[in-house]
């Protein structure tokens, strides 16, 4: 299945990719399987979205899709059908920080 992923600016420059990446993901389309596929294809992104050791989402990273905040969902939560079919992208977002 082809999954569309939109990365925040700094991770695009780090992975040297454009606005959107397309990933081939096998099996169930979940937070974990999509990020596993993303890290496998772009090793520089390991540790940037999930902590190297714990595999927990980094504190200032958010996951959005289909106008839903999936950041606090368990990693094996299936992503919305629209993401799984490639109709909608999965967004990795840097959390807002203002001052």
């Amino acid at each position: 299945m082809t999954i569309r992923v939109v990365l925040p600016h700094h991770l695009r420059t780090l992975a040297k990719v454009g606005d959107e990446v397309q990933l081939q993901v096998e099996g169930e389309i979940t937070l974990r399987s999509v990020i596993d596929a993303l890290e496998a294809r772009y090793p520089a992104l390991r540790g940037t979205i999930r902590d190297h050791g714990t595999q927990k989402r980094r504190a200032f990273v958010r996951f959005f899709a289909c106008e839903q905040d999936l950041s606090h969902e368990p990693p094996d939560t299936p992503l919305p059908v629209a993401v799984a079919t490639g109709a909608e992208p999965f967004f990795v977002v840097g959390a807002m920080a203002g001052g």
Partner: protein, 371 residues
């Protein structure tokens, strides 16, 4: 003709400043890694076009970048820093014990002999080493057995920020941690001992001359005299003549002995430089005058160097890794400020001028002297 390359890490990217040996006209190249915190960049002494850089972000964590062509292009290399074994706990701000957690790399120190070997000083305080040009990093965990449970973070975090390699003895390394103190290994990192005898911290520690817990800000050494160390502590400028076994205060007539960086003239091992800061509560120069102080006697007698530096209304800070020297004749001295200026002196500190005035806050400055 010789030339100089100055590597500048800032809160929002890295910059590479280059000049010929006259050091009058400079080219500014950057930002590299725009928007990222670039804690430190340093070139290999044996292959100066190989540069390692610590790239960090509160959002996205730690990256290490390596360039093999003097910063023209970069490649991300290994950035997984895993503590060896179960790291245990250290003192926390409230006096409780707190688990060791990796946050970032503050300082990269390439080997003096092998371009593929680099040491990395990390927060929470730990020392890592790569021997494959950054692909993988292993902790030298013997350091944490030097009473690591008693170490505690300073206000900036519990960071290992200083790594000094002995050019005459590959088994000897000095490191410094805020706020744990200075440590030395004589067996290439297997075992470490605190080297804090003579340091006094009456305002920071209940036992003012404790074995560990001192907030050491920076250590410098001249390569021709590796047993002589100079230290800028939180308060006090110190000197050791026996590789850290004992320290003596050499603050002398400084207007303030609080500060962050300290460095040694490239050709005069008794000439040292500090930048006095008013206090730990007010991180800016005394009286709004940015002055580098130079001692030609290895401490105690200091002269203020002001020519070309702002002498009114200046309230910047100069951080611990933000001073460096080149090895041309005369020795060049460089420092960067939290206001984004990088100042250079091509005459050992007698006169100064800014290379660049409006960078993001400067975290680190390193100078490379190129043939």
């Amino acid at each position: 003709m010789s030339s100089v390359r100055v590597l500048v890490g800032t809160r929002k990217g890295a910059f590479i400043l280059t000049s010929d040996g006259a050091r009058r006209d400079w080219k500014i190249n950057g930002p590299h890694f725009a928007g990222w915190e670039m804690y430190h960049l340093k070139g290999s002494p044996v292959d100066p076009n190989r540069i390692y850089a610590s790239q960090t972000s509160d959002w996205f964590g730690q990256q290490i970048q390596r360039s093999d062509n003097a910063g023209k292009s970069w490649e991300p290399v290994g950035h997984e820093f895993v503590y060896d074994g179960v790291p245990g706990t250290h003192q926390w701000y409230d006096g409780t014990q707190h688990p060791w957690e990796f946050k970032r790399v503050w300082h990269l120190e390439p080997s003096l002999t092998d371009p593929d070997t680099v040491y990395a000083g990390a927060e929470d305080a730990s020392l890592f080493r790569t021997t494959d040009a950054g692909k993988s990093w292993q902790e030298l965990s013997g350091l944490r057995r030097a009473k690591g449970n008693l170490w505690q973070p300073g206000a900036g975090g519990m960071c290992l920020h200083t790594i000094v390699l002995d050019p005459t003895n590959p088994d000897r390394i000095f490191i410094a941690i805020s706020a744990a103190g200075a440590f030395r290994t004589d067996d290439a990192g297997k075992t470490w001992q605190p080297i804090n005898r003579g340091l006094k911290s009456p305002y920071e520690l209940p036992d003012p001359d404790a074995e560990v817990g001192h907030c050491v800000h920076r250590i410098a050494m001249h390569p021709s005299r590796p047993g002589v160390l100079f230290m800028q502590k939180h308060w006090d400028v110190m000197r050791s003549n026996n590789a850290g076994d004992n320290w003596d205060e050499v603050s002398g007539n400084l207007p303030s002995d609080f500060g962050f960086p300290i460095d040694v003239h490239a050709h005069e091992p008794e000439t040292i430089y500090v930048v006095p800061i008013k206090s730990d509560s007010e991180h800016f120069p005394p009286d709004g005058k940015l002055r580098v102080y130079r001692s030609r006697s290895g401490g105690n007698e200091w002269e203020g160097l002001t020519n070309g530096l702002p002498q009114s209304d200046c309230y910047v800070n100069v951080l611990r890794d933000a001073m460096a020297v080149d090895s041309l004749d005369d020795c060049g001295v460089y420092f960067g400020t939290t206001g984004g200026q990088v100042y250079a002196s091509a005459d050992g500190g007698d006169t100064w001028k800014p290379i660049v005035r409006d960078l993001p806050a400067v975290l680190s400055v390193e100078a490379q002297t190129l043939p």
